[in-house]
Each structure stands twice: as C-alpha cells, then as structure tokens.
C-alpha cells in the first residue's frame, strides 16, 4: 500500500501565495471583499434609522391666535416634523399626501386658540400617510404628550384651572391608506420590486458572460449577428419571466395578505414593464462588463444590497440622512416601490406616478445605451 504524501508546509505556502496572487488579479472579488463590509457598516451603522425624524409635513393653519403657533412650534422642536408646506384647503393637503410629497398634514381649525381658552377641547386633525407604518409610528406616538406639555406654559397661573385631566385638546389621527397599520400592506407590494430586481438583474447578468465562459461567444460573433439583436433577444424572454413573478406576487398579495388594491392593476402592469426593462438592461450591461459568471453575480449583489436597504423597502426612506436618500433615488427599485404602494394602497393614477415613472425609464435607457456600447463585436 502506498503511503499518503506527507503534509508539506512548502506546498501549503505555495498554495497560499498562489491564492493571494489570484485574488490580487481578480479586482472585483477584492473590491467586493472590502466593499461589502464597508457598505454594510455604513448602511446599518449610519443610514438605517428605525426612528425617522424630520418627516415632511404640510400645515393647514386656519387659527389666528397664538396657541396654534405654539403647537406647531412644539412639533417642529420635537424634530419629528418638518413643516415644508402651508396649504389652504384639505384637498390640497390630500394631494400632497397622495403624491408622497409630505408624510403628514396637520390641520389646526379656525378658532383653535379661542376654543382652547374656553376649555372646549378643540380638535387637531393629523392626517398621516401610513403606507409604511414604521415611518410614521414614532412621530404619531410622541404627538399626544408633545402637545400637552407644549400647552402647559400657556395654561398656567389663573388659567391652570382650564387644564383638564384628559388634555386640553382633542387629537385626532387619521392613518390614511393603511388605517389598521398592517405592515404586510407595505411589505408585500414592496417585495414585488425587490424580487424583480434580484432575479432580473441576475439572470440577464449571467446571459452574456455564460456565452463567453463556455466559448460560444466566439461562435456567435463569427455569425452575422448584430449587438442589438443579441441584447434585445436576451432581454425579451425574461420580460415574460418578470410578468409571471408579478402575477404570482399580486395573487399572493390579494388572496394571502388581503392587501387592498385601490388603483388600476392595468396601470401597475404597465409600470412593471418599464421597471422590468430597467433591471434587465442593467443586468445585460453588467454582463457586457463582467469577465465571467461569478463576476456578474458579484455585480448583481453589489447593486441589490444597497437597493434593498436604501430604497425604502426595509427601512423608512425618510429615516435616512440626505446623502443616503440621494443614492437611493438612483435605484429603479426606490421609484417602483413608491409607485406600487401608490397604486395599490393610495389608488394613485397616471398623474401621480408620472414623476417616478420617468426616472425608471431614464435609468433603463441609459443602461441599454451603455450595454450596446460595451458589447464588443470582436474578441479584441
């Protein structure tokens, strides 16, 4: 019987040196190894905020007395609310909510100060966009105490008797679009975008690198085939796959999670086409850049990870610092999430989603252009 060769440290060393050399040559893997922990640290450490503050709010101030302003000042001081707009009518406030421009509309009615001083417990109406319960929860939770303590200063001395035990004002909160504050209503439509992003980029990312890796690219190039034919020919089959995914998710949303479907499903399917195309285009572009399938896969995760974290899927978009929001705005997923939530939960129509839609379309066009430019007709 032959003896197994003895373990050799010299050989081991040779292997280690070789691995390091290969690692150094493979820039992408190297970048990933450094990049992923850095990205994760940055995102989880700084960008992700489960207690979002500075949420944009509109105010409808009909009261002319000082107490209305006291209330608003206290809300602003709490740092939960940033008053970015003043509206004149309730309809105007609703429109801002529907478009997602503000998270809250604070309605301080006429004669608020007078009624307060009379002890009539005047109402403050807070309308909140509750599609993402995590984004509004803390702000709304803090509101009761906040308002009571704010008015303490005004209601003391001879007026302290007017300070009833159940609070001087009647706070009414309307959680719009998702009145029961059910998290699934937010997550499930979001998942559609997340799953599409993941799978669409990945499969097309592998499409061209696979040809190159298996040597079939040489064959394809020796035939009279145009780059646009190859790229679009590879995109179209996956659009169908994307639609199957959309169908499955919508059915699950309706039958399993009972997600309300306020808007037009046809409109949603149309938007999905643009979104799927954007992701496929991105995948194809990766495919033309990556040298092999592994690199294409790595690039996919490179986009997928920040997409999922910065798009507002996992964590409230408005909870992130400004720079993280800017990065988030680049990803098609961010805009698609707003549209799906808008259509399904808010009943948005074409008007309200247009701003988001063209940003996805722009992304798709740029990605395809880069892909076609990068696709090489020769093996050079």
């Amino acid at each position: 019987m032959k003896r197994h060769p003895r373990f050799s440290f010299a050989r081991l060393r040779g292997i280690i040196v070789k691995e390091f050399t290969q690692m150094r040559r493979d820039r992408l893997t190297f970048a990933m190894m450094l990049g992923i922990p850095l990205i994760q640290l940055t995102l989880f450490g700084y960008a992700i905020n489960a207690d979002p503050r500075h949420l944009p709010a509109a105010v409808l101030l009909a009261d002319r007395g000082p107490q209305g302003r006291t209330v608003l000042a206290a809300m602003q001081n709490s740092t939960y609310f940033d008053f970015v707009r003043q509206v004149q009518t309730e309809v105007e406030g609703r429109e801002l909510l529907a478009r997602g421009e503000v998270q809250f509309v604070i309605n301080i009615p006429e004669n608020f100060s007078r009624d307060l001083l009379r002890g009539d417990r005047p109402a403050i109406l807070v309308e909140a966009d509750a599609t993402d319960p995590a984004a509004t929860g803390n702000a709304l939770g803090s509101l009761g105490n906040l308002l009571n303590s704010a008015l303490q200063n005004d209601l003391k001395g001879p007026l302290a008797s007017l300070n009833p035990t159940d609070g001087p004002i009647d706070l009414r909160v309307h959680a719009l679009y998702n009145p029961e504050v059910i998290t699934q209503y937010n997550i499930v439509p979001g998942l559609m975008g997340v799953i599409l992003t993941m799978t669409m980029i990945l499969i097309t990312g592998l499409a061209i690198t696979r040809e190159r890796e298996r040597g079939t690219m040489e064959n394809l190039l020796s035939m009279p085939t145009r780059p646009s034919e190859v790229l679009i020919g590879k995109i179209i089959p996956y659009i169908l796959v994307g639609y199957i995914q959309v169908g499955v998710i919508l059915l699950a949303a309706y039958f399993l999670f009972h997600v309300p479907m306020q808007g037009s499903i046809a409109l949603l399917l149309l938007v999905a086409l643009v979104f799927i195309a954007a992701n496929l285009a991105m995948g194809i572009t990766f495919s033309t850049i990556a040298k092999n399938q592994l690199q294409a896969m790595q690039m996919t995760f490179f986009v997928f990870l920040p997409s999922i974290l910065l798009s507002g899927f996992m964590f409230p978009f408005r909870g992130m610092p400004r720079w993280a929001q800017w990065i988030g705005e680049v990803f098609p997923l961010t805009h698609f999430l707003r549209i799906t939530r808008g259509i399904l939960l808010k009943g948005n129509t074409t008007n309200e989603i247009m701003l988001q839609l063209w940003q996805i379309a722009l992304f798709a066009v740029i990605a395809v252009a880069i892909g076609i430019k990068r696709y090489r007709q020769t093996l050079d």
Binding site: R214, G215, T216, E218, M223, T378, D380
Partner: protein, 309 residues
C-alpha cells in the same frame, strides 16, 4: 469563383497585443478548391490569424481579399460566406443537435430553414439523434455536429481550427474523406493542425512560428525550403548514442523513430564531420530523405521565441 482563383489573398497581416506581434506580417494565398494546411507550435498565432480572416479580431495591419471581399473593411460580407469552426467546441451544449443547427440556420437567415436543417442532419448521419443534447455527444460526434453547423449556410471557404483535436483515428479518417469530397465540389479549406499525417493530406502547407510565416508550399517544397540533411542510424543502445550526438556541434536533431535514430542538420558538411566518429560498428548509418516532421522540428528550433523574457 472558379478553381485556381484566389479564395484568400492577404498580405502583411499583423496583430499586436501591446508591443508584441502575435501575427507578424503574414502573407497567404489560398486557391479555390484547395485544402491548405496551417501548421505551427502552440501559441504561434494560427488561431489569431484565422480570427482576423473572419472578422473576429481587428487586424492592426495588412490588406487583401477573402472571397473577393476586403479583409479589413468587409468583414460582415466575409462572415456570410465563411464557415469558422473554433478550436474548442463552441455550440450550445444545452441545446439539442437539431436546435443548434436550427439556430445557426436562423442566424444566417436561411430560406426553407426546416428543410436545410433536415438535410444537414441526414447528410451527416445524425438522423435519429436530432433531439440529443450537444453536450452529451462524444468528441467525434461533437466535431461532426460542428462541421455540419459550419456548412449549413453553404459557405465557400471553411476555416477549421484544429478540427481533429481529441478525435479518434477512425473519426479523423472519415473527417478527412469528407473534407476532400467537399474540396472536390469547389469548397476551399484552411485547416490548422498539429498532426503530420494530416499535414501530408493537404494540398499545400504553411508553417508559422511566433507569428512569422517560415515556409510554405507543397509538402516537398516545404521540406526542400528547410534544406535538411538526415541520416538514419540503427544499432544497440540508441538513447545513449542520441545523448552523445546531441552534444556534438553540427547536430541539430537526434530523434528516435522506431528502431532507428534520425540525425539531421541544415549543414550537410558539418553534420558529416560530427557523425564521423560514430560511423563504426555496431552502428549502421545511411542517408535518407528528410521527412516533414524533421523539417518542422528544425523550423521550430530555428525560430526565435518572442514570448521568452
């Protein structure tokens, strides 16, 4: 195009990677109906040259025509009339035989596609196996499929890059029979190979090494160009003799062929001086005509390696 006209007529073809010329000013003329063998060691630039001819690589320098089309500016036209069989099997292993052929026929926009594919399958004796996945085929069958696919668009010129690598002798013989038949019908072939027996089956040959064309012509012409003198010696313990001879100045090759040793040099007088001390019993010496392999090895040894540091 008629037999005798030039299917390939290119001059000064050059491909550089950085400052290294992988193909260095190669001229080549191949006539219609000819089977032209392209030989040279690994990494000598054969594949690069074929790729430049069919537009897969951009030439850095050179001019001329392939099938009457400009080799630099009309690569799209050339692609339509040339069949290129890659060194490594490059059809889709996850497609069936029929699907592969069908795809190729579609890419070339063949009319009566179904019929063309059916005929191709029948002609190559693949009938009954259409549905088999290409990846499951043996080396010989893969090669047949690749050839069938290259022929589907009825090209006038075939560029075959080491078509018989990894194919058994019987399949190789069948393959060459087929090549000769197709050539008789007016198809032109440029074939790279490492095998001497295949080289001898070609009408004409070229030898390329480190990007430079070193010899070309018929088998006899190539041997004559190298100008080698070869002696065969038989006797006991030839390997020891070979060692001794190799250290003699004036001996360029001492290679065992069966029970004899072939000793060659391109300087006949010097070779005779070198072997004189060994021309005694028990060794039996006689001068023989040099073979193609002797000529090629001599060419290979003589060329400078521009890959060496």
């Amino acid at each position: 195009m008629k037999n005798g006209e030039r299917a390939i007529d290119v001059h000064g073809m050059t491909k550089r990677y950085g400052d290294r010329a992988v193909v260095d000013h190669v001229d080549l003329t191949v006539r219609v109906g000819e089977i032209y063998g392209f030989l040279g060691p690994n990494g000598s630039g054969k594949t690069t040259f074929l790729r430049m001819l069919c537009g897969l690589l951009r030439a850095d320098d050179g001019n001329g025509q392939v099938l009457g089309h400009d080799v630099i500016s009309e690569s799209e036209a050339i692609k339509r009339e040339v069949g290129y069989m890659t060194q490594r099997f490059s059809f889709w292993e996850d497609l069936s035989i029929e699907e592969n052929l069908d795809f190729v026929a579609r890419m070339y926009g063949m009319k009566k596609r179904r019929e063309v594919v059916r005929q191709s399958i029948a002609r190559l004796g693949l009938a009954g196996r259409e549905a088999q996945l290409a990846g499951q085929l043996s080396g010989g069958w893969k090669q047949r499929l690749a050839l069938a696919a290259c022929l589907i668009h009825r090209p006038r010129l075939l560029l075959l890059d080491e078509p018989t690598a990894g194919v058994d002798p019987k399949a190789r013989r069948d393959f060459w029979e087929q090549i000769h038949q197709l050539a008789a019908d007016g198809l032109t072939f440029l074939i790279t190979t490492h095998y001497m027996d295949e080289a001898e089956r070609c009408h004409r040959l070229a030898y390329i090494s480190y990007g430079k064309l070193l010899a070309d012509g018929t088998v006899d012409e190539v041997i004559a160009q190298v100008g080698l003198t070869t002696w065969a010696v038989s006797g006991p313990d030839l390997s020891r003799l070979a060692d001794q001879l190799r250290h003699q100045p004036g001996v360029q090759q001492a290679v065992a062929f069966g029970n004899a040793l072939h000793v060659s040099s391109d300087d006949a007088a010097e070779l005779e001086r070198a072997i004189a001390p060994f021309q005694r019993a028990p060794y039996d010496w006689r001068q023989i005509p040099s073979g193609l392999e002797d000529a090629f090895i001599s060419l290979m040894q003589g060329s400078t390696d521009n890959f060496a540091p």
